[in-house]
Point group: C2
């Protein structure tokens, strides 16, 4: 599976969360990171090039800071220019059908405010409906959004946990089962160079052990239920 991260952030060098996420992306994976403001500072988008890029990937991620409850202007320009009639929708527009589409949002306000009665008044799921409608229109499967609330307030452990969720978001096949999570970890572990272990890798290993234990607990519980049925 090839993943394209279309990243839009007008001030990416000043963004702690974006720098943190970017630093975690392994170079040997099938991941393309595409920062629009670096490539098109003048807002003139090379439509053909962008369409070719989309065709070569299976999972398309929009990653951006949640400005006024949606994407920054350049990503909107990209949508309007690249996702044209005859390419992304319309009778001959079948280029995106069957791909997956997801959102990675960095959000400055805490999660609790995104609900009725909260300061922001609406949930992330409500506010991202235009993107859900875009996925529907273009024939893409909408993935569960990965929202990152108030990154700078996260503890080191929470940041590490976020990194794993982010990497999974980019690379793990769409499947939330325990088996799929185990498979992903086994893959990650088999690629780990144990001679270069640092804190982050150690955390991955710890997480892996936790999941394996969780799995064993599940099996144990099933055995008890089976025993009681006898």
């Amino acid at each position: 599976m090839k993943t394209l991260v279309i990243l839009s952030h007008p001030e990416i060098k000043e963004s702690g969360s974006q720098q943190y996420l970017l630093s975690s992306i392994p170079e040997n994976k099938n991941i393309t990171v595409h920062h629009l403001e670096s490539i098109y500072p003048d807002f003139n988008i090379d439509v053909e090039k962008e369409q070719e890029l989309l065709k070569r990937h299976d999972r398309i991620i929009f990653q951006f800071p949640f400005y006024w409850y949606t994407a920054p202007a350049l990503l909107k320009k990209w949508q309007d220019d690249v996702l044209a009639d005859g390419f992304a929708y319309g009778k001959k527009g079948k280029a995106l059908i069957g791909k997956e589409f997801g959102l990675v949002l960095s959000i400055g306000v805490k999660k609790e405010e995104y609900q009725a009665g909260g300061r922001e008044g609406f949930s992330i799921d409500e506010l991202t409906k235009p993107f859900q409608a875009m996925a529907l229109k273009t024939g893409m499967t909408f993935l569960k959004t990965l929202p990152i609330f108030q990154f700078s307030y996260l503890t080191e452990n929470q940041k590490m946990s976020l990194l794993i969720r982010y990497q999974q978001y980019l690379t793990r096949e769409k499947d939330d089962s325990l088996e799929a999570r185990e498979r992903w970890f086994i893959q990650e572990l088999s690629e780990t160079d144990v001679t270069k272990l640092n804190n982050g890798d150690q955390f991955v290993l710890d997480q892996a052990i936790e999941f394996i234990e969780e799995n064993r607990d599940t099996i144990d519980e099933l055995k008890i239920v089976l025993d009681q049925m006898k």
Copy 2:
């Protein structure tokens, strides 16, 4: 009441609906039409000037074609630049509190598709939640949206009716009562130069008569109810 129409359309000269709406705006009214793509073709927005413009108006309208279920890129840039922390929100950001905010959307697909099961999957109310959240955040009252579906398929009478609804949207005090509608028409009628009557004006007069008749019907019905209560 002063109304500011912030209009965003990258190809406004080719837009039948926008040209039709613009041609109907009287010059002697307290309406400012502000077409962003004409003023800022290079996307460099004069933030201070825009903020001053906002301060001088009571009702703010975003008028645009519904591209990918939200505003064109330049209007998004305008939001991100102009509606800054300390102006539109945040501790010192009180400039928009108490103003009214509305959307006039031109939409290429028919109304029936904007619902669960329809081709677009979501209603206009669902898709405009980011704007509703913006109004909430900035302390503005969100007006009922004026969506214009498939303008080019409208009959001449439907277009005339749209014009009236549009003019009311820009100028009528927020109040849907029969009394408020009557008041608006009386105001419009008093400003009509009968020596210059054309088809459009005649239609306004016809509508006025219709409303007055509706009013009389309501009064008559109330009388019947009162009689039955005796």
